[in-house]
Symmetry: C2
Subunit: 369 residues, 2 copies
């Protein structure tokens, strides 16, 4: 059988899955997706969509039976069902062992700490040594700032959440590193992106990150170690804090392509989605070096919740030929919902940043009631 | 309505259509395709497939009624039906007027000649002045060398073909230029590709073409003129002969993205398919300059006709991280059938050529009986 005759199953039908499929289709793979929404972003590009909850064990097993390899675009899914698929002989990448460790943020960070990778100090119990403010994080299910609480006094601690405490990190910069690991253990690491968040959601990624070369090397080494600790297969996003003293602390690991790696579509020869697909089907990686400075900006829903309406695309394309806009195809826009993103390239990083900034006033997705 | 809510109809469901869709999907467009084969390359990525002959006027009109704009990936289609769609108010790009002139190669070249664009001498009647060999070409329906005859003596002239005669051009090099024209008349021209054919089918495109800078400028000017002569909207491929004396003669115009422009997927920020989609929905163009030297090689079916089997993909990817392989998804391979292509990039053109050449022995699509 040609490798490209393999059938790929993806759990989760959002934009990450869609961008995986656009790469998989270039090589002719057959792709089946599982998602609760019949009109999810993947629905228009996949070969088959199984409409079911991401926790529906039977549906996950049914998907696994139809394909040669299973992957996922979201980590908060039914890992026990995936384990059954794995035991039944269907490869799951990243492996269920990786996933289970990463799904629980407390275990994720404890494992990293044990392996000597620097993370913020953490504790299952309230730790007065961390002082105030400190963070309280849900062990499971959190993303985009959801499941995180800033604890300014003891009464801020939620009582109904299974979580853990973390010291407050007064970081200078947040960076993330996209890394891919192959089934045979080979690791490639993309250039470091500098992330700017707004309301705890990624707003902008600037590549190359404007940090010292030594810190870059350290961050890339950390990402490499993280991939090996979790024996991750596929593309991972590793978010890190760069502290004022030059320390690099791992903040969070995502066992899938990551929002902060969207810049690789325009910025690199082989993007994070393509290398994810290559990894899970056992193919060697494509080139990951940076072609030119690249800035990615998220298009989050603005103004009001409602039917998605993209505004200013023509103006944005008129403003510069060096921007690409990506629209995920979600029919309903919500404030802060990830509706799309755009990427600006330029040989001059400052120019790319300035153009990306100007486009923020031009192109947007509004909800129409 | 957001521009990206537009519905796009594509006549023809082959690889050119598929690559258009992969770009259209990035912006969230809804795409409906018409093709006679239910398992055509577009079938796995389009939103809807109308299975019908490319000459089926009723089906073409039915498609037009469902969409906001119609385009095509193959020029030998029912232009009269498209004209009815246009009259009914559905925009067709490139326009039917452009298409009708281009469909008939004799008219295509006569129009160019009238407008002062250099083409090989041609004649509807046998012209002894052209000497032997000369070419006889079918006015309609020819592509990839089909519909062309080399006339070495008068008895070689086919008697049952509506064709015309053309002088034999002893060219030094064949080049092609991909150009895009917007509804408002703006034209962008991609870097020139140098084409190497084998059995009258494109084998390799090398970019930048290894020709003198003055000839490049001339070829790009000619492509610009061609776009304006035909008032083409969308991406066109303009094949040209570069003669030993530096003359540039237009050999053929294709009113659609072109095989020789596949290099733009990796070689340029905005590729020929993306700019085609941008053109037909009225969006300004993305950047077309060359990022790095790029070589594209077609994967034509080899060995025998039969079930398509891709061989050597892993070896090719192991050989270099700077190759991308594209597989169109045709289940049946035939000798010389276009099954896919690959693209090699490198900062050094000679290196890219040499790597592309070595990969010819590694990756291939064979037919398995």
């Amino acid at each position: 059988m040609s490798v490209t005759n393999k059938r790929i199953g993806i759990i989760g039908g959002g934009q990450l899955g869609k961008m995986m499929i656009l790469e998989a289709k270039r090589l002719g793979f057959h792709v089946i997706v599982l998602d609760p929404a019949a009109d999810c972003p993947c629905s228009s590009v996949c070969d088959e969509l199984i409409v079911a909850s991401l926790n529906d064990g039977d549906a996950i097993l049914a998907l696994a039976k139809k394909v040669d390899v299973v992957t996922y675009e979201f980590e908060h899914i039914n890992a026990d069902a995936l384990e059954k698929a794995e035991l039944a002989g269907v490869p799951v990448y990243p492996s269920v062992a990786s996933l289970k460790k990463i799904q629980n943020k407390y275990i994720q960070k404890s494992v990293l700490q044990e392996k000597g990778i620097a993370v913020p100090r953490l504790s299952e119990e309230f730790n007065a040594d961390f002082g105030f403010p400190q963070m309280f994080k849900s062990k499971k299910g959190g993303y985009d700032g959801k499941g995180n609480w800033v604890i300014k006094q003891k009464s801020d601690i939620p009582t109904d959440v299974d979580g853990f405490f973390e010291e407050w990190v007064d970081y200078e910069l947040e960076v993330s590193v996209i890394a891919c690991r192959a089934i045979n253990g080979e690791v490639v690491v993309y250039p470091i992106g500098e992330n700017i968040h707004s309301n705890s959601i990624l707003d902008t990624t600037i590549v190359p990150a404007r940090i010292d070369g030594q810190i870059k090397i350290k961050a890339m080494e950390v990402a490499n170690q993280v991939m090996n600790v979790f024996e991750g297969v596929g593309t991972f996003g590793v978010e890190m804090f760069v502290c004022k003293n030059g320390d690099v602390l791992v903040n969070e690991v995502a066992p899938r392509p990551h929002n902060s790696g969207h810049y690789t579509i325009e910025g690199c020869f082989a993007n994070q989605f393509e290398n994810h697909i290559r990894a899970i089907v056992g193919l060697p990686f494509g080139e990951v070096s940076l072609i030119y400075p690249t800035v990615m900006v998220n298009l989050l829903g603005v103004e009001s919740d409602g039917k998605a309406n993209l505004v200013g695309l023509e103006e944005a394309y008129k403003f510069t030929p060096k921007v690409n806009v990506h629209i995920y195809g979600k029919s309903e826009s919500k404030i802060y919902r990830k509706m799309g993103h755009y990427t600006v390239v330029d040989c001059d990083l400052e120019k790319a940043i300035s153009v990306a900034e100007k486009l923020k006033g031009i192109v947007k997705v509004v909800g129409v009631l």
